[in-house]
Subunit: 369 residues, 2 copies
């Protein structure tokens, strides 16, 4: 079953006044000079997938900027309208941004108002952006976040339990401080410990499972791009399931002094190695980009095998910083996905025979080739 | 007067067992696939300039990794040896890393032991790396840091006063908390206020001066790369020199409640705009990269006009993410510097007629073309 975006129309969105783009399945290339809106267009495709931007700090950044002489003139509402096709099924997704800050955006699926969370899952996508390099080069929190988002996509219970865990953790830390300041007694910890351990064990367990899946998929994919690199993923829980309760009790003094629960899944790490050398400390930007791409493609594979739909790939400037061998491999690989959309400032680097759609952006207009 | 690096020899450094590279003035290209050590080589050139790495968290990351079967075998000491030439003057700079963690690295200039701070200034360089994007896309602290490092390079008094200001600020904040907790009286603030205001005014003043210089230089340079973009820099001090004392006094209640000095140069910002639109919120990665490059070239210009030596440019993967027009402009511009060294995974993108040295890295070896 093939899912793809067939149309996107943008009105008063980012740098675009009004554009309409038709797409077919297969590989689409969005090219254009710096600042012509390549990432803006990709962002709009992500918006119709999950109802929010991957980079705007608030929805108002999505509204097209007006110069001072335009402020009092009429402008249409900022709207993102996408059409997706999935066998015989066709979905119209419209996101309309309000004119003033007091209102919130409207999302409609086939004419019916829905919430952003109801939109999620209608058009599964996997996104790569430059920020993803943090999964390799950033703090452990970035790697935990990657795991958590991936597990949540295939297991809705996980997200609910993870949020619950965070609440319990906050409560328990407040209580630790109160015990330290002699305002509460240690007996009160019993309830919070039980909850923390139960939820924590669930989270560790699911993370162990997904790491096994990722490890298996990612090695295969990565070896295609980098035949001499053996990539490995190792989950390092701050405490094992078996020892969670015991360690929580045995380090209680220290926790009270610090007022912090310093063990549990919120302190987990994932170690990424290339040929047994730490990718965090020693990989170059190009190597890190390659690792993240392999991870994102594993993510697509895992989602596909769970929900039986191949996600749409949205890849923002994946080719830059990579060498010619890896660039060619990526394009060959993108070509076989139902739909993959790649931005690049350098379309000449791509073998055009693989591309079903080549879109060039200039001065806020689309030039389709 | 022309300064340049003529030789660099690396022993047991990063991914290199032993390489020796000769360079001539003009543009040098370091090419190679991802993970072949392009950035490592550039890092070594920066090391002989200021005695520390721009990315290693500690010096031991610089030591070549040994596989498990090599651990007990003899290996030479990790050494970076650079030769710089400046008219008739020739400098030999050797940095040797210790074998074990308890010792620190040795720096020798023409055979004589010196400290890292004595090395600074012998070989002025301007470096561009991918992390520099934070100057545009990151928090205000990143922009303050850029200003502070630039001013310190041309004014040694500035760094000393800035460090003093930080100490005074920490002391004053402790005192504010003590006043809040009724452990100190407000009288004690008088001394700290006087110091804070005097140092703060000095810092604001120097930042105002440098912003004027940057603004003038950067507009000229940026318009060459991006003729349709008008780049502007605006210094936004959290408080003006004239109102510093008055505002510090009038907001004292609030400061005591929070236990924090919330005005002063440590809260300054710099706004960067392209055609009156915030670069922080709206610039693409390509645009941000272009802005930072313009900034770094302005930095080189400002240093040159102050110390009368043109710095060496070290540019790590500056070309990726940029479009063809901008790439060509950059190479044309690099060509006229005394010495500029550019890494790239894609040497075909560079017009080879501009390059005086083309170095290709493969399997830890140098292939000079």
């Amino acid at each position: 079953m093939k899912l793809y975006v067939s149309d996107i129309e943008l009105t008063q969105y980012r740098n675009f006044s009004n554009i309409h783009l038709e797409l077919t399945p297969g590989l689409s290339i969005i090219s254009g000079n710096n600042g012509e809106g390549k990432t803006n267009l990709l962002e709009s495709l992500y918006l119709i997938s999950i109802g929010k931007s991957f980079r705007a700090r608030n929805d108002f950044e999505l509204i097209r900027h007006r110069s001072s002489d335009q402020v009092n003139k009429f402008v249409p509402q900022t709207t993102i309208h996408g059409v997706t096709k999935f066998d015989d099924e066709k979905n119209n997704i419209v996101i309309a941004l309000p004119f003033d800050n007091n209102q919130s955006k409207e999302i409609k699926l086939n004419g019916i108002h829905i919430s952003a969370s109801q939109l999620v899952g209608k058009t599964p996508t996997v996104l790569f952006t430059a920020h993803d390099m943090d999964i390799v080069l950033g703090s452990p929190g970035k790697r935990r976040q990657f795991l958590d988002i991936l597990i949540s996509q295939v297991n809705q219970e996980y997200l609910i339990k993870l949020q619950k865990y965070q609440q319990i953790l906050t409560q328990r830390n407040s209580l630790l401080k109160a015990i330290r300041d002699h305002q509460s007694s240690e007996d009160e910890l019993i309830y919070w410990n039980t909850e923390l351990i139960e939820l924590g064990k669930f989270i560790i367990n699911k993370r162990e499972d997904i790491i096994k899946l990722i490890h298996r998929e990612v090695q295969k994919i990565h070896s295609e791009f980098s035949p001499t690199e053996k990539l490995s993923f190792q989950y390092i829980p701050s405490v094992s399931i078996e020892n969670f309760e015991e360690t929580l009790n045995s380090t209680l003094r220290q926790q009270i002094v610090m007022g912090i629960t310093d063990i549990g899944p919120h302190r987990d790490n994932v170690l990424i190695h290339i040929n047994e050398i730490s990718a965090y400390s020693f990989s170059s930007r190009g190597q890190a980009k390659n690792i993240v791409l392999s991870l994102r493609l594993s993510e697509a594979k895992i989602i596909q095998s769970t929900i039986n739909v191949q996600p749409i790939l949205l890849l923002d400037d994946i080719l830059s910083e990579l060498d010619e061998f890896r660039r060619k491999k990526i394009i060959e690989k993108m070509h076989v996905y139902n739909q993959s959309i790649v931005t690049t400032p350098e379309p000449d680097l791509i073998d055009a025979t693989y591309a079903n759609n080549i879109i060039h952006l200039k001065n806020g207009e689309i030039i389709k080739q």
